[in-house]
Amino acid sequence: MNKSHRGSVKLEDCEIIAHKKYEADQFVLTLASDYISNNTKPGQFVHATVSEKLLMRRPISIMSVNSKENTFDLLYKVVGDGTRELSKRKVGEQISVMGPIGNGFNFDSVKRPIMIGGGVGIPPMVALAQQLNLKTQKPLAIFGSEVEFPFEMEITDKSYPFIENPATMSLLHEWGIDCLLTSNSDFQGVYKGYVTDLARDFFNTLSAEELKEVKIFACGPDMMLKAVKTLASQLNVECELSLEEFMACAIGGCAGCVVEVETETGKSMKRVCVDGPIFDANSIFQ
């Protein structure tokens, strides 16, 4: 009887250490947890109670961990009642958090991880960036947003054939990871277009050999993920996508959060919460 899965997820009341508002109703929430800050794999998420007014929890990706301070960050956007309730929570209050949940990305042996995040799909990409080994891996992050980016930015002195002095996410810059931003709105240092336009321009700068070392990781709206999947299959590169679906238990018990997945034995309904949220792009959106 294999019981290795037992006890891997913790349910805790986590203190709110910081709660910062950005443009367009986007928030970064910093929570205290020894366990989550030390046991999270990139791509995993928490299932959090937003307030006493709403029973059901909300799933939110873990964006980054601080294992020195024993805290972790979430980035979320207010889209409805639940996230609005969450945005009202104040520093010092506690919220009930269950996590970390989910399978996480397979990135260890990837030489050129390309991380594509759209909107509130950016957090898992930041989580992935944080765990990369820059001695063996040569990453690039591509983040897209139609509203102002929910993080501190700075202009770099880099130059690419398709953009001079691009703006970047300060946090990734600090970690030594190249990061390009894109939007259809006009922002300084930000490429104009979709994430896939920017990615295509970037891939054009790679040799055939370099392209073979690429694996794409992406999270964002379904439309974006479908475009990323198409790009990956055109270039014949590996690709993992992080999916979202409405959740009740987030622990595999209710089969409420499924997505249709192509497996060796045919079509199957997989649970986004525990079989995912990360899936091989070839197996979904058929």
Partner: protein, 317 residues
């Protein structure tokens, strides 16, 4: 576990009156991922609704939160009875708790076959689901017609000597009559209630949120209905000593005690786990304290102890 929580259900000795409800805890192991959660804190675990053949279930979205509850339309996704018997049942730790299989068929014969198959396993009891609102054939169609319910229970009875529990639908006019017919057909226990049918609409797209358009409503929102149905069914079941698993929105020890007073021998916890995964500890402790406080030695003394007001009128408003 406190010894005053021990209870006998259909001849099975349970350590606690809590039964984890079908469809909320997968096939028994899912919640053990959570640190501090243990199947040994509950009397029994009821496994996901199982059909003869594997089912993929409904298209998303399958769940949607509503005031004090949620709607689900999973559509009985399950790997089929053979897989459950050969690959899942042998992996369950039977020392921790008792396990109940929940069976669903699209024909009367399918129920019979399922009862026969599970009769040959080490499962502790069989729950007949004639009240699933989320499948096209079978399900609630059997549960809303007392004569059909009778035939389903009858064929299961002919195929098993294991304790048989029939799960009743609240989506019918006279649940007590239905209970009577199920008992006549040989049901050893009753589960009251399954979800109520409901809908939620996205006013922007003017489409239902649920892929299946409608689904089953569960959670605290349905508790008062579930409690009344339990009381009504108990008026029939007590005559035959047929015990009830009371369920529908149980959220606390107080809720559980209400159901027991109304006539339930055991209490089901489903939706509450989704928002409070470690709630079973609180319910066990709360019931145990209540029994001590009220000088009650065992739960069985509390079952059906409701004292009705004698001036209630047939007209409710």
């Amino acid at each position: 576990m406190n010894s005053n929580l021990k209870v006998n259900y259909c001849g099975i000795e349970l350590n606690s009156p809590i039964v984890l409800l079908s469809g909320c805890v997968g096939f028994g192991e899912e919640y053990t991922r959570i640190d501090g959660f243990s199947n040994s804190d509950v009397g029994a675990v009821c496994l996901k609704g199982t059909t003869n053949e594997p089912r993929l279930g409904n298209q998303p979205h399958r769940i949607y939160e509503t005031p004090d509850g949620m709607i689900n339309a999973i559509g009985l996704q399950n790997p089929g009875s053979d897989f459950v018997i050969n690959d899942i049942l042998p992996t369950l730790d039977k020392t921790e708790t008792k396990f109940i299989i929940n069976i669903s068929g699209s024909t009367i014969e399918e129920y019979g076959e399922l009862a026969k198959k599970f009769d040959q396993t080490d499962i502790d009891a069989i729950e007949i689901n004639i009240s699933c609102p989320n499948v096209k054939e079978g399900g609630v169609a059997f549960g809303n017609d007392p004569d059909m319910s009778y035939r389903v229970v009858e064929i299961c009875r002919q195929n098993t000597t294991k304790p048989l529990i029939t799960k009743l639908s609240p989506n019918q006019t006279d649940i007590a009559y239905s209970a009577q017919r199920c008992i006549d057909a040989g049901s050893d226990g009753l589960a009251v209630i399954n979800t109520l049918m409901g809908m939620a609409i996205d006013i922007d797209s003017r489409k239902p949120f649920i892929g299946n358009n409608q689904g089953g409503l569960s959670g605290p929102a349905i508790k008062p209905i579930a409690l009344l149905k339990t009381h009504q069914v108990y008026q029939v079941s007590k005559k035959y000593n047929v015990p009830i698993i009371g369920q529908g929105g149980i959220n606390s020890a107080e809720d559980a005690i209400e159901f027991i007073i109304a006539g339930a021998t055991t209490v089901g916890v489903g939706t509450a786990l989704f928002y409070d995964p470690l709630i079973c500890h609180k319910i066990n402790d709360g019931i145990s304290d209540y029994l001590l406080r009220n000088n009650i030695k065992n739960i069985s003394e509390l079952v059906g102890s409701l004292q009705l007001n004698d001036f209630s009128s047939p007209c409710d408003s």
